[in-house]
Amino acid sequence: MLSIKNLTKIYGGKNKAVDDISLDIEQGEFIAFIGTSGSGKTTALRMINRMIEPTSGSIEIDGKDVMQMNPVELRRSIGYVIQQIGLLPHLTIKENIVLVPKLLKWSEERKDKKARELINLVDLPESYLDRYPNELSGGQQQRIGVIRALAAEQDIILMDEPFGALDPITRDTLQDLVKVLQKKLGKTFIFVTHDMDEAIKLADRIAILSNGQLIQFDTPDEILRNPANQFVRDFIGENRLIQDRPNMRTVEDAMIKPISVTADKSLSEVISIMRERRVDTIFVTRNDGTLLGYLDIEDINEGYRKGKDLVDIMHRDLFKIQIHDKLQDSVRTILKRNLRNIPVVDENNILLGLITRSNLVDIVYDSIWGETPAGVDEA
């Protein structure tokens, strides 16, 4: 749907920022542009919405040449997220979100509905709609930056290092969020980064740029298995090649059976189940298996003393992973965040399994030193 042909941008007559790049992007793909600083990522990205005019070559969206389109209308049809976030400080969050719909003269009700729908999508309370940007944290602001780019139902979203300025944990959360959003909405995302972890985690295909040229354009697995040349190999880093080569296992292979209770149980019942199973945390589900939250033993003791119900004391904000996620991505997140027990769910949020930190550590050792620790056995 997005077709880039022989795209070139020359500054000052000789400096080739983008050098004869050609690539085709399908509807609904998540593409990452990656490369060292100055490799032309931003320039390539900004030519798509004509914030920069190409020197030569063409860009077609659904067969239409963008150079023939009105640039203002083109930009309204393409979402854009930048590292510096760029929310308008004098407008409320709501006004910021529906900025493009406002330019497109949507009705008040439609804008209102859209703002509420979107803010729910990124797990922020609706009361934030009336706040001003400086009343939000950096991570929260960038959530707004992301949904602002979706507000006019754009099909293509361009992102230029959107999470580069955030701390690692916030970045991680937002990466997950963006990936989920992108899958759910089926939009085409083009994402600039210089973090290989981020590219591998998010992208369906990665375009590696160097000195304005496209070096390799392929799926993360293929790039890791068959780097096009030494440059790519260096860029990926030898470490990751070792780590990623042996196992392309999914979460499903690694998970164990979780212990859970339904939300209608009383606390004393929960305590007896936990004592019987010898666990210190337990998941809470609906009768149909939908994951609601978790409880740990200290909460329960306290809740029991105060005579509270299970639903009052359970923790609802929990980090979970999808059953079809790649194990390698989850390992990284879990280790980075220091999580102990991570529930595995399907797309309908039904609890299917559990990954614990200790069975992850086993897997990491297995994949580095082989399945059977032979040396230990013989000794």
Partner: protein, 229 residues
């Protein structure tokens, strides 16, 4: 003792000449406001223009600076040769002196808007005018008002000299005082309201400025902005 008699003389003067005083007060104020108004009509668009087309900015601001360096009395005298005596000459002089602070603040207000924000606006599909109307002007409004404030305070002072070329201003009373043998009461009676308008305008507009400042933080005065001498 002396102070006491001065105060009673002063209040006697004010109550005897209340109508006359009010007339001068409003004439004085109106000439200032007209001059600043015209300066705003010219200065704000010009400031926007030079912020946009950077090349002009140096020339225009230098020109406005040169005007500012001519002493107000000399300027009045020169303009009087062309325009004759009276209020219009005073208003035009005010216009010339008010131009620089308005121009300069508009220019630096717009220049100080975070380019990432205007870039985001453009990338979302705002036209150039929409970027100006929805981003640049609202974000520089407090700095522009700051320019107007300075212009008005300067204007009150420039108008005060206008009495020399026959415009009715509060200085009329002061001049009468300087000509009289014991004119202290007149001098104070005229100087007091002049100082008062200037201070009130300054305070009122500062409050508005603060209210409109999008960055809201209190100790964050805009830099590189013209100030009163």
């Amino acid at each position: 003792m002396i102070l006491g008699s001065l105060l009673s003389d002063l209040s006697a003067y004010y109550s005897d000449n209340f109508g006359y005083l009010m007339r001068l007060f409003f004439d004085h104020l109106l000439m200032s406001i007209y001059g600043v108004l015209f300066a705003a009509i010219v200065g704000i668009p010009l400031g926007i223009l030079i912020a946009r087309y950077g090349k002009l900015s140096g020339t225009v601001i230098t020109l406005a600076n040169i005007i500012q360096t001519v002493p107000a009395l000399a300027m009045l005298a020169i303009l009087m040769l062309g325009m004759g005596l009276g209020q219009n000459t005073v208003i035009f002089t005010v216009f010339l002196y008010a131009l620089l602070p308005i121009l300069k603040n508009t220019y630096s207000g717009i220049k100080s808007v975070d380019p990432n924000i205007t870039d985001a606006g453009k990338a979302m599909g705002m036209t150039r005018n929409q970027v100006l109307r929805m981003i640049e002007l609202p974000l520089s409004l407090s700095v522009i008002i700051g320019g107007l404030r300075i212009a008005l305070v300067v204007a009150i002072g420039v108008v005060a000299i206008g009495s020399f070329i026959g415009a009715p201003t509060l200085s009329d009373i002061i001049i009468r005082g300087t000509n009289a043998t014991d004119g202290t009461v007149f001098i104070i009676a005229g100087a007091l309201p002049i100082a008062l308008i200037a201070v009130i305008i300054d305070i009122a507009l500062r409050i508005i400025e603060r209210k409109l400042d999008p960055t809201v933080s209190d100790n964050d005065a805009p830099e590189d902005v013209q100030s009163v001498n």
